[in-house]
Symmetry: C2
Subunit: 260 residues, 2 copies
Amino acid sequence: MPQRQRTEFPSLKVVRPKRMYEQIAEQIEALIRNGDFAPGARLPGERELAETIGVSRPSLREALIALETLGLIEVRVGDGTYVRAASPVSAAPTWIQSKDLGPGPLEQFRARRAVEPACAELAAAAATAQEIAALEKCLERIIATIDAGRSPAAEHARFHVLLAEASHNSILLSVASELWRLRSGEMWETLRRRVEEPESLAKGIAFRRRLVASLRARDAAGACAAMQAHLDRVEQLYFGPEDAARAKPPERTPRSRRRR
Amino acid sequence: MPQRQRTEFPSLKVVRPKRMYEQIAEQIEALIRNGDFAPGARLPGERELAETIGVSRPSLREALIALETLGLIEVRVGDGTYVRAASPVSAAPTWIQSKDLGPGPLEQFRARRAVEPACAELAAAAATAQEIAALEKCLERIIATIDAGRSPAAEHARFHVLLAEASHNSILLSVASELWRLRSGEMWETLRRRVEEPESLAKGIAFRRRLVASLRARDAAGACAAMQAHLDRVEQLYFGPEDAARAKPPERTPRSRRRR
DNA sequence: GTCAATATACCGGTCTGACCACTTGACAGG
DNA sequence: CCTGTCAAGTGGTCAGACCGGTATATTGAC
């Protein structure tokens, strides 16, 4: 049962008190993942559930809304709350995971490696003239930024997100957006310096020119290959040639630390 | 301002009434994305904000919790609500997008095509013995389910999610989970029949055996190739040989229709 | 008997108003 | 100048109430 965080001594504060709705949400998610509530099953009514857990209806409601936002449950007005079909499949602990620190650089890069060639390939087939023009415009802006002596990191990100848009695939787009969003974090700051040298930047521009040309020519294979080559080069820069896809052991992440 | 969904005539019901908290969340997200509330800025107090928008505090709270769950804001107890540092990159309208109908089957499949070979490749390098054992156990369950004359769809999904887990890449895992979750929706019901014929199911089993063997042998290229071949075959079944990566025009999706 | 219209019980949606716990910052005392 | 205290403001939680929507049992007509 959720415990109200007591403050026996005002100044003794070990952990940040978990809000009621978080505790309830975790508890319900556990029940769902445990199979106590099967997919498609109907949860007890809000009033009943609240009483069972021992909290007020507003608090329970907040938890349900969090779970609904995460896509674990579905609330039907006037009917009831149902477990979404998610459970047998997604073993990913949405709630817990969404609260923790993100993946590391290498992990991000591996995902890029999977997604971006596909973006390039699809974009070659699906991109509209406007989208290609937008990519070219972005490329010009990258050049201008470099000429001005500033870091083109943001423009680079924009270029790749535009490319993902041009693929007309919403899933790839959302993954690419997320990857480049993560990449703007501080973790990459130091890594980035290695790439931001004149020679490397010039190669980046050449690659992007080649890519845009492939898109214009509707050359899917060429676009894909260009992206592959680019990622090969970047991987060398970032992670060195030894690389070797290290398989770290499961790595217990204690779930205690929180962002802030 | 949010409008209470009126029912002028009981039987005239055009759209499903949007719940208050959804309207409020959209509104606040729009304000954030518009820059009216800059990252790091503090939102007005709950009481004040509720009065400004013209809703009750509980409703406003529900909206804030939804936005917090999505990671757009951060609530500090006893202090206030703050806008999280959203990057300039992410153009993805989290809230609105997450509530809409998902992408179509072909779009989903294209994403699979990008993600799953990478999962197989990485898993060959990173999978632990337990994870490979779990995959084998799942494969056995698939066979048992087929022998029992039932559809192995859920087990198939589980197999691929387990594979994604074995890749030890949280991003690929979350994408794969999402893809297979979408796939359990009704949209695929009819499509699926084509694949669920004895001959096809047998090929699926053979592929999975081959894949697991590649993992055991730490043969990344082999695992990747097996997955590629499998996806080739499945693509034929689902979308026919003509395929040809049609570049549908932008396709205005009116965002009106809702699941259910 | 079958089927459609209706009545009703149940359920989620929303609101009011209140009290509690926490954070913060001003202020008085050392 | 530093420190401990206190008060104001903020989010957290609660209880209870009423509303409208949904599903189902009921009733009526055919």
